[in-house]
Symmetry: C2
Subunit: 348 residues, 2 copies
Amino acid sequence: MTDLSAGSRNRSITLAARPEGAPRATDFKIVGGAVPRPGPGQLLSRTIYLSLDPYMRGRMNRSIGYAPTVDIGGVMVGGTVGQVVESNLDGYGQGDFILCSNGWQEYSLSDGTGVRRLDPADAPISTAVGVLGMPGHTAYVGLLDIGQPKPGETVVVSAASGAVGAVVGQIARIKGCRVVGVAGAPEKCDYVTGELGFDACVSRYEEAFPEALEAACSDGIDVYFENVGGAVFDAVLPLLNTYARVPICGRIANYNQTEPPPGPNLVPRVMGLTLVRRLTIRGFIIFDHADREPDFLRDVGAWIRSGELVYKEDVVEGLEQAVPAFQGLLKGRNFGKLLVRVADDPTR
Amino acid sequence: MTDLSAGSRNRSITLAARPEGAPRATDFKIVGGAVPRPGPGQLLSRTIYLSLDPYMRGRMNRSIGYAPTVDIGGVMVGGTVGQVVESNLDGYGQGDFILCSNGWQEYSLSDGTGVRRLDPADAPISTAVGVLGMPGHTAYVGLLDIGQPKPGETVVVSAASGAVGAVVGQIARIKGCRVVGVAGAPEKCDYVTGELGFDACVSRYEEAFPEALEAACSDGIDVYFENVGGAVFDAVLPLLNTYARVPICGRIANYNQTEPPPGPNLVPRVMGLTLVRRLTIRGFIIFDHADREPDFLRDVGAWIRSGELVYKEDVVEGLEQAVPAFQGLLKGRNFGKLLVRVADDPTR
């Protein structure tokens, strides 16, 4: 249990500059300050795990009027697992483990909005920002509600060993689909077929990647769960079957682009295929689908307990590792759900 | 009533070559042959009206395994209104007016597949290939089922004075939407606002077309019914609101393209907006939605009778005009639903 002795400091990572292209270390700043004390109706928690997710790259950009943004000098946002240090909020007491949104920092106040108590007996607390948290919820809604897979259909998911992709593919398998992953490094592909039970996994590093994907999808593709964009999307497009669904969850290949890529302009080709093959391409953001969280927690929780669904975490140690770890995330260097252990996990 | 005297000839327009880009006159051939006689279970009809529609351009291409194609030397396909000359088919008698698929020719046999009897007392028979036919059905399903407009939303439709667009916009108006058309010539825009009752219509010929469209859509765009693609799509894209729906019905600007247009490649931009704004882009083809035909005929029929929905036909005279009329259709030269009067309409 945290002892807030006099002189405790709160370290935070703030956005120092809006990145042009790939974020650089100098775009962030570690700042120190006093640990705040909770006012009435507030709680103070110490961050144990910070979740690092690709969507955070968008929050570093200037607002385009739709997506929220982090102000210059503001603390980077992020989902966290914390432990209550001091509480003036009904229903929460010192020592409670909670899902919270402390962002990239060691301590934060909360009025309870979006906070949920975690029972370490139910599942490891780290899963609340992973397979049983936002990434898992994203996979569940994106696949089942947006993708609407039917048994026997072929589902392809990119970033297949990642926090979202691994759950997408395993749910698709559980629902009776043929599942093909796209991943990077060969050991990730081995994990996807060996541990996650996908029918196949193709490395996007392969020289003949489009041909390899086509060979792995001999019946075409009925659902493509889009996490990456770029060359993977280009290779998927001609393989999409009539009535295929394409949930757009992310497009990490484009996040650091400052200019559109060179031509030709393939928008007419995409729209032409969308018409002829009656495709549905649909973007979604998980925050619109909070109503499905109970279903998600029930189903994925049960699949984890039964062993049908497994997960892998990639944990880096210490808040100061958040920036290099996030830089690596955008390059596909993590292997499994990326977490920063900001403080010791007392449940382990 | 047609008198099939000895020596009557059947003229047909066949596909002589697959067009490269814009179809040329030499890509077609007018051929003459004997008028066939119906066998058991068949009827022979004489074509009165031939419908010319943009989708026919796709049928001239080599098959890409999804869309049907016309063989070289084959008669061009097309929806028609005809009159029965001779019938060995139960339920049809000489002189009956029918919706049929005679294609670009004067006489054709049918076994009754897809044939429907028309009562000239219900509506002018030409409407069976227009506002009360495939184009109207396309508008009805594409707007209501794919676009799902809600009262008060802004609906934009391109090719707004065309066979499909005019019906889309009027249904949207009837359903309580704010409706903005995109058309070409200024007299078309005047017709769209004056006769069809759209709230606004922007000419794509305007130099500052994107700005003019933005000014006409001060609350953004909730449904964009896509008929044309190209620069109109590019101008619509940034104006789409969160949760906007984009039914892809056609993309006439691209039909004659033999190569993708030059860069930059805007696919990442389209997909990025699809994600951030949670867009739904969905292609559809009317033949998948036959189950909605009774609803369409009931609703649009009632709106026509009540005067809430009007239509305009652009009729050219004589089968030999089909090719130049179709060439003009791809350039937006028609004004209203394009028909070829292949034989006199005895109901007029």
